[in-house]
Symmetry: C2
């Protein structure tokens, strides 16, 4: 008997019908002889609705009380799901993050898991019951308070439980069939990826792919948890996220997928004195605002002025605080001015095959050039190349690059392509 | 510095505006120098909405999972209320039933409080914070599970906390000005009662007055907690529910108030053998269905047949189960038939003054007779007389009796009458 952790997102349990559909699937898995632990998110838009309500009460809700509020969402979905499963004749018990032993630090709104002690979950399984666990929430031992893990925290809950319980697989159910070579809404010819390494998945998630959260993929990678991203609306095989893909080197594609991200803004610090320590000074100031800096580019110094420009991207929501902090320190740092651009788009091409393939960067730039798309920033890692373009050209850039690297479903170059299962 | 427990029902916190209004009142109480513990119900119709959702998932939701589901309602209201209070510059912290030490037995849906250990509430008060506690919910130590106290449980939570913390007063906020001599929607001339004994309040609540739940009044009586029932929409003094009313004997009214109840049905067991033990047998059968039997009347035996009829009232929702159970045992008990009547109304007149006043029953029956209202059942206690009439005559009966006992606001006989505060 193997143990399977299944995670269902809000769109899979948006209403009573969805809950019953998901319950049926869980019961089928249980009856197939598996032990089943289910992690569930709040129903549909519940979390956003609770946030809206909080914003009607106070301008900037947060901290302990916001976590207490938001944790009600999973409590509703998990209790209903347990009822639905029991209604199908299979014993089920729901557990809050606290009851399931999701121990976190005290950082409300973005708590980190420090320990997982799923004693009650294990007991429920030993008694033949399905255990339903609230995603997204935990408990701090020091304060005795409820915490939440931040957006996408339910994926992390599922992976952490899978690791702690030694699950065979952690199935992440969503409303799409798996991880695609690009967003199918942007690239209709995008193909579902059958298998992807966690390293590549991390880069795709960092590049803007929404299907999995970086944090959950990273947790899975570190703890050797196999993820299976699949649809809760059909029985198709989805995408397996694995540590490494053996025996496929011959056919290994250069590029696994293309991701895009429209949620970032660019800040340029203009006229920074080109002396050692200035970049460190700037990023220390920004770091104090808790801004999540993504790409950084420093232009070469203009010899005549001894000054340079430093550009970086960060979430749009973090930009204002960063600008304010930098302005306050302008005299200290000695830069000339700040530029703020929130009309950028980021494109990332990801593939483990890049490591052994020369010319990927050239091929990428050529494709974009031929399509008349201007590149504003470039950043590369071992298996990823990210470029910043105008926001309104990024979708076209994704299509062009997807085609150029032979990922389109109608070309022969597809290697990770699905078999239509 | 005195400690005040305030309980706000769902109608007082139905939306963001209501929450802010209540927060303002709490902050005023705190700033007046009191320690404040707030017990809050779920917002508006949340509990009913959650129940509806559960019924869409399974035909008869119940047990552990229903309690888990319903407890989400208070979690939402209490977190929002804490935020609203903090937004006004006063520290506030919300606590679930479990965190506030509301220890109950394991009877899901109607748990009884077995211990109250409000350690964290006391700590919050010691640190100058307002403590917000979820009404209606508790925690069973043996199972580690969340429980709920049943409808009206928030009143009980408030009284239990007031008792455990030694509060000066437990204020029950509602959408009316206090306890009235009769339902003002039925009797426009009804008067607010300034002070009432807990004994009388118990009888009024048992008679159908909705403003307080029997269980909370009983808990308050046993633990010597003073209740103050008042409106959250104005600053008027409400009704004080006290152990006894001293020094007003001279003016003590015979009747304090009149209550009506349309939620009961009547079952008559026809042709019961008039031999010892038959009544006990019948009520044992009914008790096994957990029906809440209220009034019981046994007619005198018809000498010629040696048989008698036994009638009793019970909540309409309990009637079907009782009928089924009795039918199953008909041969065993030996009765002839069952009659079921769900078109009854119950009227109760309550007053401590009855003890020392002869003729109250006669006065009541005369008033009803003169109004042409037929009495079907009668039951009396030391300070209450209840009668059953046709459902469609009960409101008229309340008006007639209210007037007959001099409770109408425009008569001179009002004794407990308010001063317009």
């Amino acid at each position: 008997m193997s143990l399977i952790v299944q995670k269902y997102g809000g769109s899979s349990v948006a209403d009573a019908e969805g809950l019953k559909r998901v319950a049926k699937r869980i019961v089928e898995t249980r009856k197939a002889g598996h032990e089943v632990v289910v992690v569930v998110s709040a129903m549909g838009d519940t979390t956003d609705e609770l946030l809206d309500l909080a914003e009607k009460v106070v301008p900037v809700p947060g901290g302990r009380e916001l976590d207490m509020l938001l944790s009600a969402g999973e409590r509703i979905s998990m209790a209903l799901l347990a009822m639905a499963i029991k209604g199908l004749g299979v014993e089920a018990r729901s557990y809050t993050g606290s009851q399931a032993g999701m121990i976190t630090d005290a950082q409300h709104g973005s708590a980190r898991i420090v320990d997982v002690t799923p004693k009650r979950v294990r007991e429920a399984l030993d008694q033949g019951a399905v255990a339903i666990v609230a995603g997204f929430q935990g408990f701090n031992r020091g304060t005795g308070d409820i915490t939440t893990l931040g957006r996408g925290g339910s994926d992390t809950t599922a992976v952490a439980l899978a690791a702690a319980l030694g699950a065979e697989v952690c199935e992440i159910y969503t409303d799409v069939d798996g991880v695609f070579t690009a967003d199918p809404r942007v690239v209709p010819s995008a193909r579902k990826i059958d298998r992807i390494t966690s390293e590549e998945m991390l880069e795709l998630a960092a590049g803007g792919a929404k299907v999995l959260y970086i944090r959950a993929v990273e947790y899975a990678r570190r703890h050797g948890v196999t993820l299976h991203v699949r649809s809760s609306f059909n029985n198709n095989e989805g995408t397996l996220v694995v540590a490494s893909i053996e025996g496929e080197n011959v056919e290994e594609p250069i590029i696994t997928g293309v991701a895009a991200d429209l949620s970032e803004a660019k800040i340029t610090v203009v006229g920074v004195p080109d002396i050692p320590g200035k970049a460190a000074q700037i990023f220390t100031i920004v770091a104090k605002t808790n801004a999540n800096i993504d790409m950084v580019v420093q232009n070469v110094s203009t010899a005549s002025t001894g000054r340079t420009d430093i550009s970086f991207t960060l979430p749009k929501s973090d930009a204002q605080a960063a600008l304010t902090a930098l302005t306050a320190e302008q005299a200290e740092v000695g830069f000339d001015s700040l530029q703020h651009d929130d009309q950028i788009g980021k494109l990332a091409v990801v593939g483990a095959g890049m490591r052994s393939s020369a010319g990927v960067t050239a091929q990428l730039f050529t494709a974009l050039f031929e399509a008349g798309i201007n590149i504003e920033m470039i950043s590369t890692s071992e298996i990823r190349i990210s470029v910043v373009t105008r926001a309104d050209t990024v979708n076209e850039a994704v299509r062009v690059v997807h085609k150029a690297f032979g990922l389109d479903a109608d070309t022969e170059a597809v290697v990770h392509g699905g078999t239509g299962r």
